[in-house]
Symmetry: C2
Amino acid sequence: MTEYLSELAQGLKPYVPGEQPSDRQYIKLNTNENPYGPSHQVKLAIEEEIGSLRLYPDPDCVALRDRVAAYYGVSRENVFVGNGSDEVLAFAFPAFFTSGTVLFPNITYSFYPVYSDLFKTKYMEIPLKEDFSIDPADYCGFGTAGEMPDDQADGMHEGRIRGILIPNPNAPTGKCLAPEAVEQIVKANRDKVVLIDEAYIDFGGVSAVGLTERYENLLVVMTLSKSRALAGLRVGFAIGGKKLIDGLNAVKNSFNSYTVDRLALAGAAAAIEDGRYFMQTRDMIIATRERVAAALCDIGFKVVPSQANFVFISHPTVRAQAIFEELRGMGILVRYFNKPLIDNYLRVTIGTDEEMDRFLSAVREIAALR
Amino acid sequence: MTEYLSELAQGLKPYVPGEQPSDRQYIKLNTNENPYGPSHQVKLAIEEEIGSLRLYPDPDCVALRDRVAAYYGVSRENVFVGNGSDEVLAFAFPAFFTSGTVLFPNITYSFYPVYSDLFKTKYMEIPLKEDFSIDPADYCGFGTAGEMPDDQADGMHEGRIRGILIPNPNAPTGKCLAPEAVEQIVKANRDKVVLIDEAYIDFGGVSAVGLTERYENLLVVMTLSKSRALAGLRVGFAIGGKKLIDGLNAVKNSFNSYTVDRLALAGAAAAIEDGRYFMQTRDMIIATRERVAAALCDIGFKVVPSQANFVFISHPTVRAQAIFEELRGMGILVRYFNKPLIDNYLRVTIGTDEEMDRFLSAVREIAALR
C-alpha cells in the first residue's frame, strides 16, 4: 500500500474535544461553554460587519489588539490575536519550544502533549501535589542554563528546557495559583519562556498580565470562549513582551496571513468593550458555582476548590464513569477523562441555575441508588 | 541576550500579503478580492447563527462538508474544511510532505516556500516555460520510487519526492492547465500526493475534482475567498480520497479542534447554496477581464492569457515598479512582486467595470507620458 501520509502524520494522536451530539436536546455541561451568551453589542457589531465580507480581514488585527491593549493597560505591540487560544498555544510551540523541552503539569489541558507531538517538542510532565495543586518550587531550580538532568537529556541542545506551560486556573481541576507563586516561577526562569494559559482566569483568579511589563519571558494567553461567551466565534489572544509577540507573528505569518475573520474581529472587540455585561454574567456564574459546590458536598461529593467555570468532582462510592453514563442517559452531558489519576473524577461546567438544579437532582438520584 | 525564539522561528521569512492601507480610499486591485460581494443569502444565514455563538462550532464541520460534497458530487468523507485555503495548504505540509521533498513551479503562489520552511520540508522549484506555462512533462518521469536525482538528494529518506503542488490556474500568471495535463501529472505520480490548488478555478478553468474518484493521490484545494466573494470570512476546503482527508484531519485536530467558526460555517454553506448568484457574478468578472485584457493590449501591454480573476501584465517601455508606484499615487492599488523573472510584471485584480475603466484611464495616462 502506498503511504501518502508523512511519518509525522501517521504518528499523531489528535486531541478529542468534548462531544457535541445532536441526537437529542442535552443540558451541555461538558465543554465549559458560558450559559449566558455574549453581550448584545456583539450581535450589533457583527451585523454591521457583514457588508464587508468581500474584503480580506486586517492580517494584523490592529483594531482588536488596540481594544485588548486598552483593556489590560498594555501596548498594541504586546498583544497577539489568534483563532481561539488553541491556535495561539499551537503557534507558541514552534515559536519558542521546538527542538527543546517544555514542562507542564501531569494533570492539565490534554492538548499540550498533542501540540508537542505535532511540533516535535519534547515535554516533561511535572506531577501535581496530592490535592491537585501546583507546587511552584517544582518549576524552579533548573538553573540558569536550563539544562535537563543528565539522565533525561539526550544531548545539550535537544535536552534544553526551553519553556514552562501552566494553565491558571488549571484544567480540569479548577485550582488556581496565587499571583506570588506565578511570579516565583517566572522570576526563577528568566532564560525560558513561561506561558500562563489563563483561559479561565476571569472566574476568580488574578491575572499575570500585570507581570508582563517586568518579565520579558512571560506570555499570558487568554480566550473569549469562556468568560466572554464566544466559543462559537474562535478568538483568543496573548499578552507579553514584544520579543515573544514577534515570535508568534513570525509563525502565524508563515502559516496563514488571516487566521481571524472580519466577523470575529468585530464581535470580539464589542465583547471586550461591554465590561458591564461581562462582570454581571461572570458574577452570576461564580455565585452558581459556589452554590453548586456546596450542594455537591452535601450530597457527599469531594469537590476540588474551583476558580473556574466548572467544578471537578468525585464521589466516594459511585464511580465517575458510571455517573457520567447515567447522566448522559438522563440528557445531561458532563466531561469524563479516562486517564490515570483522574479517572474517578468528572468535570462539570457551571450552567444556568436552572440547569444546575436539574444536574443536582440527577446526581442526588444517582448517589441515593447506591 | 537571551534568545526566547526557537531556531526555527528565528529563521522564518513570513509571507507578506497584499497591503490593506487605510490612509485613504483606494481602488483595491491588489489582493484578488471579488468586487461584487457575497450572495444576500450569506447575510441571512450569518444573522440567524449569531444567537448560537456561546456554543463551540461543530469541530467536524459536517453540515458544510455535506453542502460541498453535494455541490461537487462527492461524499462527506472526501471533503475537508479549513480556515481559508491557506490553512488547508498549511496542514497539507505536515500531513504529506514533511521529511521529504515537494515540487512546485518557480513562479507561483509565494506562500509555498514559506510553508515549506515552517514545516521543514524541502522543495524543488520547477521552472515555467518562457511563456509562463507549466509543462506537465516536467512533473513526470521521476519514477515510481519518487527518488531525487542523486546530485540533489542527500539520503534516501530526506530526498524522496513526496508530493507535487500546482496551482491551477497558476498565480500570479493566471495561466491554466488543461484537464488532460493535470491527469497526466496525477497519473504519472501515483505514489506521491499531487495537490492542485484551485483557488481561481471558477474563473475559466476545468476543475480536477472529477479525477479524485479515480486517483487516490489527488487532492484539490479550493477557497470561498475569490469566486464566492468571502475573503473576509476565511473558508477553504479540500476534496480528495479518504486517506488524504484523514491526513488533513489528523494534523488539524492536533492543532486546533475548531478552526472554522459558527458564522463562517453558516455563511459558507449559504454561499455554496446560491449557485445562481455565483454564476451571475462570475460571468460578470470574466466578461470584464476579457474587455480589460483587450484594452490593455491596445495600450501596448503584454497580457498573459488569464483564466483567473486577475491579469498579469507587462509594458514594453515603462517598468512595472514605476507603474505600480504611479498608480498608488493615483489611489489605485495593484500587486507588484519584486522577484526574479516577474519583476517587470503587475498583477491586476478584476474589479467592477467602473473601477477597471478608472484603472485603464490611469495606465493609459502613465504609458502616454513615456
